[in-house]
Amino acid sequence: MSMNFSEFKRLLGAEPLSRDPEFLDARRSGGEFEAAAAEADIFEDRLQQSLLFSPPVGLVADLKALSAKPAKSRQGQRWWPAALAASVLLAVGAAGLNWNLNRGWDSVPEYVVDHYRHDGDRVLNLSRPNDPGEVQALLTELNVQAAPALAGIVGLIKNCPTPDGRGLHMILNTENGPATVIYMPDTVVNDQETLAFDDVQVVLVRLQRGSAAIIAPDRQLVTRLHDMIQESIVPIPGKS
């Protein structure tokens, strides 16, 4: 055996499960080598207990199902100009923001802008006819349900972060073009607050449970959708 104890300790700390023959011989060589290996094994066991945990039941299947679907053809058109650097034009209708949890964004409008610039355009291009059952299943996880008229026009639904935890990012295929809806189950907004950035218009909707942001290029479209969303996303009776 040619590995000295110092080398052995170093390898034990860097790659305790190494299959290097010299290292394995050293592990079995008794004395301080074997004692150090036994201590390291206990630590590794704790480390694995700390790092390895079970993902939520069904998570992988849900995400997989949402991902492996063909993007709907856009006939060569892009609905959104990409990466426009226009400054954010906030047209805040009501004074004050009911914003009480600082999770990285200073306001709901800032979150909406950040979120939409992050993946709004790309998600729009993934929209396609969806299964209303899939839509309801994801909403149910957040203790809300969608009216059939809404569930029937959702072209894509995916989990997304919100200022206050998990939310849903939906694309609605309306007669007047696509619109994005970000559902925020635990975020409070000022109802009908509006903003505009890049080439899109936004209206915030206060819901019976949580809130939503409706985003589309057309002001009239987001305004029309406000009432529909407010009436269509409702708590599941008996669920808090």
């Binding site: 170093r10 390898l11 700390g13 860097a14 790659e15 201590e39 390291a40 206990i42 630590f43 704790r46 480390l47 694995q48 207990q49 700390s50 790092l51 390895l52 945990f53 079970s54 993902p55 939520p56 998570l59 992988v60 299947a61 995400l63 997989k64 949402l66 991902s67 492996a68 993007a71 600082n102 999770r103 990285g104 964004w105 950040d114 992050h118 993946d119 993934l126 995916k158 989990n159 997304c160 972060p161 919100t162 935890g165 998990r166 939310g167």
Partner: protein, 175 residues
């Protein structure tokens, strides 16, 4: 089986094989359940779109981790959310733990989140993903010896933290 069906089968196989590891990895680098789910989904979406470029199926895990890491970097170019409390984030345990063990595990988790990223990431790749030092070196684009140094220091820092926090029991006896 037609081309599209084969593509679906290939994707499903990868998604199922690596989904849990991707989620765990995402959780440990971003510390937030909703963000972790979003990162995994983004990874799936990009993997699905680029699936035809994956020629070597043995490289699939590294390929998907690379996608996830890039997506994470892209996401946080603008904003870095504060870490959520680890005990709020990880509520599902692989095994039932005795109270004393639970304390140690919690301290270790907090210690892991406080590790500098250059130590945390190699450790996550090794323990969560099962990567070898060579694979970690390739993913991080650093030398194998640098990876080994970082892994050694990561463990040393964790042990020091446990010792500082006065953990009793098996782990404490190590030092």
């Amino acid at each position: 089986m037609n081309t599209e069906a084969r593509r679906h089968a290939k994707f499903n196989g990868l998604a199922e094989a690596y989904g849990a590891d991707l989620y765990r990895y995402a959780m440990w680098i971003c510390g937030n359940d909703a963000l972790a789910k979003d990162l995994v989904q983004e990874t799936y979406l990009r993997a699905w779109k680029a699936l035809d470029k994956l020629n070597d199926i043995k490289a699939a895990k590294s390929w998907m981790i690379t996608i996830l890491r890039r997506e994470f970097a892209r996401t946080f170019e603008r904003k870095v959310p504060k870490f959520a409390d680890v005990d709020e984030v990880i509520v599902r345990e692989e095994r039932e733990l005795e109270p004393e063990d639970r304390t140690e595990v919690r301290l270790l988790r907090k210690g892991i989140l406080k590790l500098p990223p250059k130590y945390r990431e190699p450790l996550l790749m090794q323990v969560v993903l099962g990567f070898s030092c060579e694979e970690i070196a390739a993913e991080l684009e650093i030398s194998k010896s640098a990876v080994m140094t970082q892994l050694f220091r990561a463990r040393e820092q964790l042990k020091a933290r446990l010792q500082k926090d006065g953990v009793t029991g098996n782990v404490h006896e190590l030092f």
